[in-house]
């Protein structure tokens, strides 16, 4: 039986996969430090959310579609 997922799937919702110990040649401490900085930098942008211009693109396209559909019907 397929279970209904509690949350939408996608890597962003999941536990991060980087395994700090895996970098050959670097200590775990250094690898962890780099990972933390990368994620902090990245999350800084993620926190900004969805700028309006991107929502507007989808809205415009949706609107354009429905107008086009109406045009076909008439």
């Amino acid at each position: 039986m397929a279970r209904k997922p509690e949350k939408p799937e996608g890597p962003m919702q999941r536990e991060r996969h980087s395994e700090p110990g895996e970098s050959a040649g670097l200590t775990r401490e250094a690898t962890v430090k780099i990972g933390q900085q990368l994620r902090a930098m990245y999350d800084e942008v993620v926190k900004e959310g969805v700028p309006d211009r991107f929502t507007e693109i989808l809205n415009r396209l949706d609107k354009g579609d429905s107008e086009k559909d109406r045009g076909h019907e008439s």
Partner: protein, 183 residues
């Protein structure tokens, strides 16, 4: 083209991560946002080739990555010093105050080859598995692993993070650090 609510929602939900990835790749917010916009338009135009239930973020990341690569190839033909351009684009954004904190990391990232930069970001920041990152970049899993390793080593070197494993693994230290991380 029809866009159902769920697909629309999935695309919007991926936008913040797509932007973060694009900014990490280009080092330039405006270029990154253009890249994300182009990615969305490309995705919407080809939405029929997306299989519902499969990994939407990975699909969108693949489109963005390929757009960036083709744009970059074009650019590289025109301008030899692409790394210099990247560095210049960093300097031209004094308004990004909060991002100055990561200036050292950004400069270090700009010095990595494209393939290493995208690999370390996809795995280390976006949270994709090695398998997903390999699919996005169109290469073998082992290739991604070695790119991520090389990228981390180079970043440590560039950022003067003292982390070369001179004496081999110190099990006790590792155990402590692991515990601290998971706490």
């Amino acid at each position: 083209m029809s866009l159902d609510d769920r697909t629309r929602d999935l695309i919007l939900k991926a936008v913040p991560n797509l932007r973060a990835f694009a900014i990490s790749l280009t080092g330039n917010v405006d270029r990154a946002d253009d890249l994300v916009q182009e990615t969305m338009l490309r995705a919407l135009a080809n939405i029929d080739s997306f299989q519902p239930g499969t990994n939407m973020p990975a699909w969108l990341f693949t489109i963005l990555r390929n757009l960036f690569r083709s744009e970059y190839r074009k650019r590289k033909r025109e301008v030899e010093d692409a790394t210099g351009m990247y560095a210049d684009s960093l300097k031209s954004q004094p308004e990004q105050g909060s991002r100055l904190e990561f200036e050292e990391l950004r400069v270090a990232l700009s010095k990595l080859p494209d393939d290493q930069r995208e690999a370390v970001i996809l795995v280390g920041a976006s949270g994709f598995s090695y398998e997903e990152a390999a699919a996005i970049c169109g290469c073998a899993v082992g290739t991604i692993k070695s790119r991520v390793n090389r990228a981390r080593n180079r970043l440590a070197e560039l950022m003067s993070i003292d982390g070369l494993e001179d004496f081999g693994p110190d099990r006790q230290t590792r155990a402590v650090l692991t515990t601290a991380r998971r706490a």
